[in-house]
Subunit: 457 residues, 2 copies
Amino acid sequence: MPNEKIPYKIYLNEDEMPKTWYNLRADMKQKPAPLLNPGTHKPMTAQELSGVFCEELVKQELDDTTALFQIPEEIRSFYKMYRPSPLVRAYCLEEKLDTPAKIYYKFEGNNTSGSHKLNSAIAQAYYAKKQGLKGVTTETGAGQWGTALSMACAYLGLDCKVYMVKCSYEQKPFRREVMRTYGASVTPSPSMDTQVGRKILAEHPGTTGSLGCAISEAVETAVGSEGYRYVLGSVLNQVMLHQSVIGLETKAALDKYSVKPDMIIGCAGGGSNLGGLIAPFMGQKLRGEADYRFIAVEPASCPSFTRGVYAYDFCDTGMVCPLAKMYTLGSGFIPSANHAGGLRYHGMSSTLSELYHQGLMEAVSVKQTEVFEAAEYFARVEGILPAPESSHAIRIAIDEARKCKETGEEKTILFGLTGTGYFDMVAYEKFHMGQMEDYIPTDAELEECRNALPRID
Amino acid sequence: MPNEKIPYKIYLNEDEMPKTWYNLRADMKQKPAPLLNPGTHKPMTAQELSGVFCEELVKQELDDTTALFQIPEEIRSFYKMYRPSPLVRAYCLEEKLDTPAKIYYKFEGNNTSGSHKLNSAIAQAYYAKKQGLKGVTTETGAGQWGTALSMACAYLGLDCKVYMVKCSYEQKPFRREVMRTYGASVTPSPSMDTQVGRKILAEHPGTTGSLGCAISEAVETAVGSEGYRYVLGSVLNQVMLHQSVIGLETKAALDKYSVKPDMIIGCAGGGSNLGGLIAPFMGQKLRGEADYRFIAVEPASCPSFTRGVYAYDFCDTGMVCPLAKMYTLGSGFIPSANHAGGLRYHGMSSTLSELYHQGLMEAVSVKQTEVFEAAEYFARVEGILPAPESSHAIRIAIDEARKCKETGEEKTILFGLTGTGYFDMVAYEKFHMGQMEDYIPTDAELEECRNALPRID
């Protein structure tokens, strides 16, 4: 019984930690579609992108052939402050579910940002610093990304301007205060500071904002400020690259104990966590070395994979960003106000979109009451209070483990536990009081958003 | 340079984790004074205590000769869910301070309760379960202990009733909601549910409560309910015993790299963290095997070591608990309303009190603005958002490291980072806005509280 020797938590030693990031696109025969200039509909050049992003990050964004990128020494040093993250064998959950399945989760919440976002935040801040920039701008929704970027900027002495979706800014004052503790300036979006913000406020007075809108404001501010660039916490290829550290650590930890997962489950908003977790495993699948089931879990209230279309779309509401080909609900889509937590972006990583399009991964959507049920169940059994986002993956992992109980199959289930829910207690409270509602957009609503997609020849 | 090989974080393997708790009292020649019956002023017997505490815990409470207690297998299993906690070499802090000092901290915040309190919560819940009890009652101030106990009870399927100091209940709704997520019932104290609560409310209408008052209510409820016992998260000998796991892990990790600290620093409220951290090191000192400086850090607004008296006192406001000999400000002392976070108990562990009385450890008090300054500095440099309580230790660790810079001494500083500050953002916000005030009780105030001490012949 080799599994009996597997500890509750598998930690890598420092010398076992990844020294390179893995670029999944290098192993894809059919590459993800390129970003297009929104004016000319021609692929974005490095030069065009370098007005928005740091030079090194532009290279990473456009490079779809180099498989391995060295992780700079300074970033590896920072990683050591909170990595390796533990790979946990969910013995307690298995026992409680009375399942023959073996369940593992990679826990990325053990840092102050409360999620995996820090993996890319430090990388992007590092390249900005290296380029001699003064600072960076970004948007944040639920707040994990903004917190992560604030931490990275505080560490490197960079200025950090965060546009925080207004409803989050108001509902999550503590998140805002954490960012300020790390020295960031935090502005509720839409704001009167930018042209695009003023325009949106004029058209939709009283709007509580959206990620797409906050992105437009952050980009406008970066482009208009000397020595600033814009950074983004998900969706982009560069982010997938940095987040591959999650999957690489996971695989190294599993390999130490000769464990091979049958299925890998992750929540999917823009795709940063899922893309990072599955990267090395999907690489094996693409190279024909191994096979796995990959399952993306998204909210029923923002179902870009399961009910979106695969098409070029705007990445932001203000339509100032490049066009990306992705599974999308349309850039005008805003999830219902009762949707809790993140995973509210209208689109999905181009890389994951292409993999899904090729049938290499599956996607399911779940209702939020089912998600919080799983979250509470997990908290009581495994001790960790999960973020609503992460709990999407927990929901499906539990469902799959229960199926194993029915069939008697001893499958190995791996899922990504992306973060903690300490700043989501308003949503938990709603759930406890029986006041949480589910919302599923109607076909007509989705149809209307799709009609606004740009036409690309 | 052996230190160059020391990783950022030293983790123990599962087989290196402590299998026994260490009872510091066994090595003390002059033992801590016994608990006294508040009516007869005679030492409390096991029988008297067993109406309040579980039998096994009573044994641990009274035993001052057995040095090592086996940690039951079930508790060790639970420990594996979140232990070993990392011992961190604060390379970034050292660099930022430009100090020749070597700084280590034992980080106990990497679990959902957000602090070290879980170490004793699971032990106390386990013995309650083993005795066949239905549930336990307790009080909580800042909320860490209540959260920890809720988690332990959820894991074991025990009922958990928490009396939460009213001002915390109102100011920290998220803490309350975390406890509810773990299935606990949470009542603001003072409440109308108990005699003592009703009495206090009649005498002090509009009071926002105190720990001493919440303790009285929890004890009354336990004693009056079939199948319930009372549990306490600090002060008691049994808690010191369970918390020794912190120091034992720390010592094992340091020994692996042949590191010997010159000074060991911890925050002190009731003494649970400090007592646990220093236990094995103090044991060496008592046995004449090694010498260390031990520094207890307490708030200037609740200075039981530095301005209290060493005397028998009530442990609670309602005076229903046994009397304990300790450094105390008097059971009527309530810290100023502007005091943020925990460390607000009027007394101190009897064991630590006796050690301090014998001159075996030092104590200092710090103002809370100085504490939050250190907290923010630490957060930006080391990435972890510390709890206000823990930041007392950070403050003195930084001060000591700066002294080393002046003198050029390469001292090794170890401190306890007991928890995270995610639920303390109201206090952080006050600090950022420049609205945080310091309060130091006057001699006259302290004198008045001292006058209410019981007279023991």
